[in-house]
């Protein structure tokens, strides 16, 4: 039967929107709506507890950000965190996926063990880690055993953020490893076989077959990595008992937002900060996408 091409456009549109319908309805109500409300709050001085009141103040919340020292510190901490964690996490995930996809023994056991940190909720993980990072805990005992210097991983501001970084990389890399594993399944064996016949060695095959075909998925993983690290909250909250200390060393932007929203009930300013963060993430993602040029 022949397809009627004239009506193709309309048909496609209908198909597209029917596929998108559940998403549009549910996300529209439960995600987009609250965000729009937050958008509105950002431009007002809000009193939300007791008597509700809004006073439009334009960009004042955003101007306040520029002179708020803690915002700058939070951004710096978060940026440092992102630039270190995202590349390491992505590369580790790819490495693990490649290894666990190859013909080595005990693949399945390794896959399950490596995935343990991701399967555990972040609250539980943080608890476990606080035990490991304990001054008398596993890590320090191990280091002392090797004759290496020990630190107060939790209490020393110079090291606190790095402790969180380490823990996060270790617990999030498996998540991306699984996604890479799924993507690797979609690369047909035949491509590799053909390349081997043509005399390409494993490294060449990796660079010219694997990497390019993994590009869409890598884009996903890097973007999600950026978003996830920029929005770090759980660990820094638990580590610093909500204060962001010592001396603001574990203060991340979302922790700051939480403090303003829930401790001081300054919802307008908190909303403005949230929008600022979203803006920053967007810019970083666009820059990263420019360097990544998606292929279709």
């Amino acid at each position: 039967m022949r397809v009627v091409w004239k009506k193709q456009g309309v048909r496609e549109a209908i198909a597209g929107y029917s596929f998108m319908a559940p998403t549009i309805i549910v996300m529209g109500t439960f995600v987009v709506l609250p965000i729009t409300y937050a958008l509105f709050l950002a431009f007002n001085k809000v009193r939300i507890l007791g008597e509700l009141s809004y006073r439009f103040i334009g960009f004042k919340n955003f101007i306040r950000m520029a002179s708020d020292e803690r915002v700058l510190i939070a951004l710096k901490n978060t940026a440092e965190y992102v630039t270190i964690v995202v590349p390491i996490q992505t590369i580790l995930a790819l490495l693990l996926a490649l290894i666990l996809n190859s013909k080595i023994k005990g693949k399945n056991i390794f896959r399950i063990v490596f995935f343990l940190p991701t399967v555990t909720s972040s609250a539980v993980l943080t608890l476990i880690f606080m035990w490991i990072y304990n001054s008398n805990g596993l890590l320090n005992n191990f280091l002392a055993f090797l004759g290496l210097p020990t630190y107060n991983w939790l209490g020393d501001p110079a090291v606190a953020l790095k402790s969180i970084m380490l823990m996060n990389i270790w617990s999030t890399a498996p998540f991306y490893m699984v996604i890479y594993l799924a993507a690797l399944q979609d690369i047909p064996e035949s491509l590799y076989e053909a390349a081997t016949i043509d005399g390409a060695n494993p490294f060449d095959q990796f660079v010219s077959i694997t990497l390019p075909l993994l590009k869409p998925v890598t884009f996903f993983i890097v973007v999600m990595g950026i978003i996830g690290t920029f929005q770090l909250f759980d660990q820094s909250y638990i580590f610093s008992a909500g204060s962001g200390g010592p001396n603001n060393s574990t203060l991340t932007v979302v922790l700051l937002i939480y403090q303003y929203a829930f401790k001081s009930l300054d919802m307008g300013y908190a909303a403005a900060l949230a929008l600022m963060l979203a803006g920053v993430i967007m810019i970083v993602t666009l820059v990263q996408r420019y360097f990544f040029k998606e292929e279709n």
């Binding site: 306040r64 803690r70 107060n152 010592p246 001396n247 829930f262």
Partner: protein, 413 residues
């Protein structure tokens, strides 16, 4: 691989959707014959929960037309309460810590209790400093249900070994004793026992500042703790940590709280509250410890007091019933009862473990200071720890903390 017909898939999902809708109509709400009021609180331990349930059932027996639905909020208590207050879905009666009270009182979400208090109800029986914490502009918003102060816990065995006969009475004595009690038995550079366990939070250190005339806020509720009085008081703490090296934070020795550190024998003395007594008895049964009043600082007796009250939601539907519950409760405290008569009656003053806590009620500084305290707390703790570990001088830390706290307070106005 089978080809799945479209119809089959869609009907499966349709069925599932139907299932969801059906399940969700399995509600639990039944129309009550009497009145149901909701009570929320956090819980300290599973035992307390049982005691609480007992009290509630007794209340229901005495007031047959009132049913109490008790819900515990297991985490982030204040965040959840605030969210529910905002959404008009908060419980009728709930716990409120003195620390958080000013904010809620100011925003007018609590029901004033003055009109419910009748002649039979003796407000004067409540410990005045504790009651005052829940009063704003002549109106009482909550009745404190129990309280705790800080007292000195000391390890009897450690004291024996160091040849100390009695608990230190002044802060100077405490420092001397600390030095004697700090030991490194196997000389590996790591001390097994510190003389004193330190909690570097404003909530615990505030009384050190007031001993020298320091305070937290001024009349306009701006941060005003950067004064010579506060400096002197806190300097004692810093010196003991940095110079004497006879005190340690819990994280330094691998513990999460002062009580834990004390129980593990890593600190010979700590300042903790009544909550520590059951904890130590249950978790470290072999530990021999005793309590004493907090040593005097600058010649003055002082300690911290923490109290929690039952408050009523302004939007509660059955206010009279809610009041009955609050009034009933005020008679049953779970830590230390706040009514002087009950305190005496239950013999707390004579119980050697609890006596120092009870005595402390007379001169304690209550942990509360206006609605800006939460903000001040964050900034203070943030900087104070940095001074403690030697990153900056105490003077700089306090100045910075006050300045950043005030910046935040001003911009929020």
């Amino acid at each position: 691989m089978k080809i799945e017909p479209l119809a089959k898939t869609l009907s499966l999902w349709g069925f599932l959707l139907l299932l969801v809708v059906t399940l969700t109509s399995c509600g639990f709400r039944n129309s009550p014959e009497g009145i149901t009021i909701t009570l929320s609180g956090w819980q300290s331990n599973p035992n307390e929960k049982q005691l609480l349930e007992q009290v509630l059932r007794q209340f229901e027996i005495q007031h047959p037309h009132i049913k109490v639905k008790h819900e515990t909020i297991n985490d982030q208590y204040m965040d959840v309460i605030k969210t529910r207050l905002i959404g008009d879905a908060a419980p009728d009666v709930f716990y409120l810590d003195a620390f958080e009270a000013p904010l809620l009182m100011k925003y007018g979400v609590l029901e004033p209790l003055n009109s419910y208090v009748n002649a039979q109800f003796d407000l004067a029986d409540f410990e005045p400093t504790l009651l005052k914490a829940f009063q704003l502009e002549e109106r009482t918003y909550g009745l404190p249900k129990d309280f705790s102060t800080l007292a000195l816990f000391y390890n009897k065995k450690a004291f024996q070994e160091a040849g100390i006969e009695q608990a230190p009475q002044t802060w100077d004595e405490l420092r001397d004793d600390s030095k004697k009690l700090t030991v490194d038995k196997n000389r590996d550079g790591r001390k097994e026992q510190y003389g004193f366990g330190l909690a570097p939070e404003l909530s615990r250190q505030y009384f050190m500042m007031t001993a020298f005339g320091g305070r937290l806020i001024d009349r306009q509720e701006n941060a005003a703790f950067f004064t010579s009085g506060s400096l002197k008081g806190l300097q004692l703490v810093i010196e003991q940590y940095r110079k004497d090296q006879s005190s340690a934070q819990p994280s330094d020795v691998g513990a999460s709280t002062g009580s834990e550190m004390f129980g593990q024998g890593k600190a010979a003395m700590v300042l903790e509250g009544t909550w520590a007594i059951p904890y130590l008895q249950e978790t470290f049964p072999k530990l021999e410890f005793a309590t004493a009043e907090v040593p005097t600082v600058n010649g003055k007796k002082g300690t911290m007091a923490y109290t929690v009250a039952y408050v009523m939601n302004k939007k509660a539907k059955h206010k009279e019933a809610a009041w009955q519950l609050i009034a009933y409760w005020a008679k049953e405290g779970l830590a230390l009862p706040t009514r002087k008569s009950v305190l005496a009656e239950l013999g707390f003053v004579n119980n050697p473990l609890y006596a120092p806590f009870a005595k402390g009620a007379d001169y304690a500084t209550i942990w509360q200071s206006g609605e800006t305290l939460p903000t001040i707390l964050t900034h203070f703790n943030n900087q104070f720890i940095s001074a403690l570990i030697g990153e900056q001088s105490l003077r700089n830390a306090l100045r910075k903390a006050q300045r950043s706290a005030n910046e935040e307070i001003q911009s929020a106005r």
